[in-house]
């Protein structure tokens, strides 16, 4: 069978195909409503829902809940009749499958293992994702866009969230499911997996690019300067820019909020930066210390 058909019709992968379809559909629907509301607002009209009245719960809401419930149950029933849940061979600690993949919703984190050590990819970054998500309401002080779809009134919030949600989360999952084969090597979905394939791809550390041994004291110092300097620059440069161009916003935010936002943002951007370093420049570590590597 065609490898592409084979991989998208694996029982567990059908869920990913359904996810792609649903996410695409709702993304289009959401942004379409956002642009529509922006247009209404720009021409001085009320946005969708602004003129809403209260209605009885019984029956309009109860009716729609019943209909949706029936549709969902029907959908899941058809899915369950058509596709059987997979059951592989009995667990055997002596036979390691290659690749050994985590459940699909954690494949984004497993994909990060290519670019970060496990303590970062598996522990620190997920913790920061959860903390960062919970912090959103407290660091986003823009009062606009509460209760309706909009893009124009919260451009930065939507762009940053969409980048994290679609690229760093969903895209990495899709890559992990469809594009990773034996040895966690890249395979396009239409390529056959080759268990004998070896890729010779010597990686180096950042300081080795300029000829300094990364496991030496100068290498350690340069690495530290790069990592700490990245954070300091990432947090200070916007501060200077905002002080000059938008001091009111900065005053509204306050220093605690500003630092939290920039720390989370700079950390988030370290993911794509590290990916480019690894994929394009074959750089493995930026900073090597006796305790951990970054």
């Amino acid at each position: 069978m065609n490898p592409f058909i084979e991989i998208i019709t694996q029982p567990d992968n059908i869920a990913i195909v359904i996810m792609i379809v649903m996410v695409t559909f709702f993304t289009i629907w959401g942004f379409q409503q956002a642009f529509q509301n922006d247009k209404l607002k720009a021409s001085g009209y009320a946005v969708d829902g602004e003129l809403d009245q209260d209605v009885d719960t019984f029956k309009p809401l109860v009716r729609i809940e019943l209909i949706i419930s029936l549709v969902v149950v029907l959908f899941l029933s058809i899915w369950s009749i058509a596709v059987d849940a997979p059951l592989e061979e009995i667990a055997n600690p002596t036979i390691t499958p290659n690749p050994a993949k985590a459940p699909w919703y954690f494949l984004g984190l497993q994909e990060l293992l290519v670019y970060f050590d496990p303590w970062l990819a598996g522990v620190v970054l997920p913790t920061l994702i959860v903390v960062g998500l919970m912090a959103i309401p407290y660091i986003d002080i823009n009062p606009k866009g509460n209760g309706y779809y909009t893009f124009a009134e919260r451009k930065y919030a939507v762009i940053i969230f969409a980048f994290g949600f679609f690229i760093l989360w969903l895209l990495l999952i899709v890559i992990g499911v469809f594009d990773r084969g034996p040895g966690w090597l890249w395979y396009w979905p239409w390529e056959e997996w080759d268990h004998q394939r070896v890729v010779f791809e010597p990686t180096r550390d950042l300081t080795q690019v300029i000829g300094i041994e990364s496991r030496s004291i100068p290498g350690f110092i340069i690495g530290a300067i790069v990592v700490i300097g990245y954070y300091v620059a990432g947090m200070l440069l916007p501060l200077r820019h905002w002080r000059k161009n938008n001091p009111e916003l900065l005053a509204q935010l306050g220093m605690i909020r500003y630092n939290l936002i920039m720390f989370l943002f700079v950390t988030m951007m370290s993911v794509p930066i590290k990916m480019v370093l690894r994929l394009v420049f074959l750089v493995k570590y930026v900073w090597i210390t006796p305790w951990f590597n970054v």
Binding site: A15, I18, V23, T27, G30, F31, A34, A46, D48, G49, E50, D52, D54, V55, D56, T57, F58, K59, L61, V62, I64, E65, I68, V72, V73, L76, W79, S80, I81, V83, L87, E88, I90, A91, P93, I95, T96, A100, K101, P103, Y105, F106, L109, P118, W119, G122, V123, V130, L133, M134, I136, P137, D140, P143, K144, N146, G147, Y148, V158, F292
Partner: protein, 254 residues
């Protein structure tokens, strides 16, 4: 016909169960909601935006529905399942070949679980896009994030239970990341300062052993069937309660 209708409805038993008739009056519409323990999760009257599918996409409710379907099919599966290394896989085979409706029960449970993860992520996307986490709903967004994590953990702990290669190695890969936790994982940075070994680190606590075995299976089972559902249900109560207390489904302010 009318006399039969009267006989059925105009007696003590019927009236003790159903406290209202079907006449379409404002009082009856209200009583339909607050006279019913399940429906009174809703207010008697709601914003139109709560009814419009294009606004909410129904995603929060569908997540809850998926949770209910998973609870029901999960209980059915528990009747046929022993959380032991010797029997767990054989029970899967029994479900496939012996138990009545075993295959469809397991299929429904697995696909509803995948579905719930997908739907809860879209729910989060919707709440973000409508800015519904903004005042006064900041706290409820935080509860929602925890519920999202619990949904992942519910699915993750269920992965091991069939005791097949897929689950075994997925859990091995997943918990190996725990070993890299700074300070409390034996492969994590700074763990040597606390004398952490594979036999006293966080991974050992998760698995009940240094590798995935019988204890890990039992722990997964109890987390999956009892502990996490219990925590989730409590947080769902808070989540739903706060939706109402924070003023119902969000809508544009005037």
């Amino acid at each position: 016909m009318n006399s039969l209708y009267d006989k059925v409805k105009k007696n003590l038993i019927w009236k003790s169960v159903f406290r209202r008739d079907y006449r379409d009056t404002a009082r009856n519409r209200a009583m339909a909601i607050f006279g019913n323990v399940f429906l009174h999760l809703h207010p008697v009257r709601v914003r139109e935006s709560a009814v419009k599918l294009r606004y909410t996409w129904g995603m929060g409710g569908i997540t809850f529905l998926a949770f209910i379907i998973l609870t029901i099919t999960g209980v059915v599966l528990m009747f046929y399942y022993h959380p032991t290394v010797d029997l767990a896989y054989l029970d899967m085979k029994d479900l496939e070949f012996q138990a009545p409706y075993g295959v469809i029960s397991r299929n429904l449970h697995r696909w509803a679980a995948h579905f719930m993860v997908i739907v809860v992520m879209i729910h989060m996307f919707r709440v973000f896009m409508t800015g519904s986490y903004k005042a006064p709903r900041q706290f409820n967004w935080g509860i929602g994030v925890i519920l999202l994590v619990l949904t992942f953990l519910l699915s993750f702990t269920g992965y091991l239970l069939p005791w097949d290669q897929l689950g075994f190695w997925a859990i091995t890969v997943g918990t190996n990341m725990g070993a890299a936790t700074p300070l409390i994982g034996y492969q994590g940075p700074f763990s040597e300062f606390l004398h952490i070994t594979p036999y006293n680190d966080i991974r050992f606590a998760l698995l009940g052993g240094a590798q995935v075995g019988g204890n890990a299976l039992l722990r997964s089972y109890i987390w999956h069937c009892i502990a996490i559902p219990l925590i989730s249900v409590i947080l769902m109560f808070v989540h739903f309660w706060r939706v109402r207390k924070d003023g119902g489904i969000s809508r544009p302010q005037h």
